[in-house]
């Protein structure tokens, strides 16, 4: 099969995306133009056969699932939350953190009524407590999740914890770890069928870079 088509790669904007581009650069998929800044949205590298574009981290999976990007790099949290129909080809081992339940230091779940859970990750929280048979009341928030238990809006929060500094500074602590999170390489299932060799090459190169 011909592999002449450019592989479209969706990169998450921000620190994680910068690290991922570094990995791709080292793996032989350079596109110096991407580092120049400016307002350009799409960066082509005909020599290496790839085309990059930056998108909001939570949108990477949408671009890939709908075929606008062939592959992309996304946090495991997004994959667990939205369950997109994609291949998860590689754990890049970067952007490591954990999805956890946190609460005030004096919190005790007396199981007398539904547990009030504030989170950005409603689906992950629901699945987690469904597994445990615990009745919960989800309070979906879009930011400053740590504030919810402090103001009595929720009993616990389900959120990403990196170093735990924000929690500690607000007298919160991790009650339970749900799942470890890191960046994953994902691929559109249909695109993979028509560009398997190219996508496998990128996967292998990134995997090799990860080991070094």
């Amino acid at each position: 099969m011909s592999n002449k088509k450019m592989i479209q790669i969706a990169l998450p904007k921000g620190r994680l995306g910068d690290k991922v581009y570094e990995m791709l650069d080292k793996a032989g998929y350079s596109c110096p133009e991407i580092l120049e800044g400016g307002r350009k949205l799409i960066f082509e590298s005909p020599e290496t056969g790839v085309c990059y574009f930056w998108v909001k981290p939570s949108d990477v999976a949408i671009y890939v699932e709908r075929g606008a990007a062939d592959i992309g790099i996304v946090g495991k949290d997004i994959l667990l939350e939205y369950e997109p129909e994609v291949y998860e080809l590689l754990d890049l081992g970067i952007g490591k953190c954990r999805m956890a339940v946190a609460a005030k230091e004096d919190f005790r779940d007396d199981k007398a009524g539904p547990l009030r859970v504030a989170t950005k990750f409603s689906h992950i929280a629901m699945e987690h407590y469904l597994d445990r048979g615990r009745d919960i009341d989800i309070i979906h928030l879009n930011g400053s999740i740590e504030l919810a238990p402090l103001l009595g809006l929720s009993d616990v929060i389900v959120d990403i914890v990196e170093t735990g500094t924000t929690l500690r500074e607000n007298h919160l602590h991790v009650v339970e770890e749900i799942v470890p999170i890191s960046a994953r390489l994902i691929a559109n299932k249909a695109s993979y069928k028509f560009n398997q060799a190219s996508i496998d090459r990128i996967t292998d190169a990134l995997a090799a870079g990860k080991e070094n």
Partner: protein, 402 residues
Amino acid sequence: MMQQIPDAAGVRKSSLRPVEQLVFALREIYDGFGYSRYRMSKFEEYDLYANHKDFLIAEGVITFTDTNGKLMALKPDVTLSIVKNTQDPASGVQKLYYNENVYRIRQDAAGYQEILQTGLEAIGAIDDYTLCEVMELALLSLHKAGGRYVLEISNLGLLSELIDACGVSAVYKAQVLALIGEKNRHELQRLLEQAGVEAADLEKILALLRLDEDPAAALSQAEQILKGKVNDAKLQQFVRVVKALLAICGGQADPTADGQTAAQPEGAIRLDFSLVGDPNYYDGVIFKGYLEGVPKSVLSGGEYNALMRKMGRKSGAIGFAVYMDLLERYLDAPEGYDTDIVLIYDKDTPLEAVRARAEELGRDGSRVMAQARIPEGIRYRKLVRFDGSGDACGKEGPDGEQ
């Protein structure tokens, strides 16, 4: 991309949308293989779907209460209705195809969907020939849609047996299958280790996820991996059928030359065990079809003997569905023009002359719209005006210009 589907039963091509032409073309193919058209009601009792909810590819059945107080559903799926409403054939295989609308609740948005689905089912004593024929028909269906395509083939029965033989308990099996479906080798490895699978067996499962792109080489790799771990007769049948499919469909430079031979451009058949399904329904060959440019699979099918047994049937069964709603966007890409020719007449032009001129202009298959004035916002290829004497003079209309 505007596709033209060849040979749509003598109907003027421009009068049918490409997706409608494809429906006709597929009917001709299925008729040609001796499949008969199956028609059914739009409604079924809701119980049928409630009892086999996991078989449906999408949740969300539209229900209503009939005049006798029975809970009914607008059919969200065709296969279950065919299985329910047909009998086990006394001998041979019952071969059926359908073009039916199915109804679903939209998953991501409010409202309902009416989706045209085409497909076929073979019910009875399913032998090697039938397995191969159904997959050939799947390939032909993809070929008729035009462009590059891939039919990926897996065998859920063999994969499921391998997982069991490797000592994966029922607690882990669904999760293992889900990770296999994602080609998620890194998490699969961790889970299999956690499930206590031995290193050699773990390697076998992981190796099955990265078979060669070449189907013949992949088949031989899969055979080596599965040998000794699964039922040998079932493995040999799978190998025989895929080999036969490659022999029948391989090497045809012009697949439409003899009308009824599947196209097999290089790479169109893939063996990929990351294609999984629900083992409670599917227990043999399963397959999915992809067209370049469509982000999801447009065809899906397989052997569903387990479903047949669940529904109290003795026969085996295999079938597939083509999702016309996904093909619609691919085939019916905006053409850019509302009509080919706008014929402008004035109030003094005799009606007969306008009609005669429109007919003359439309003889080459062009779409001709007769109007007293150019409608607002219309896009046309060509503008033709009647002058006072009754002669017409042609004038090229720039795209979108009035």
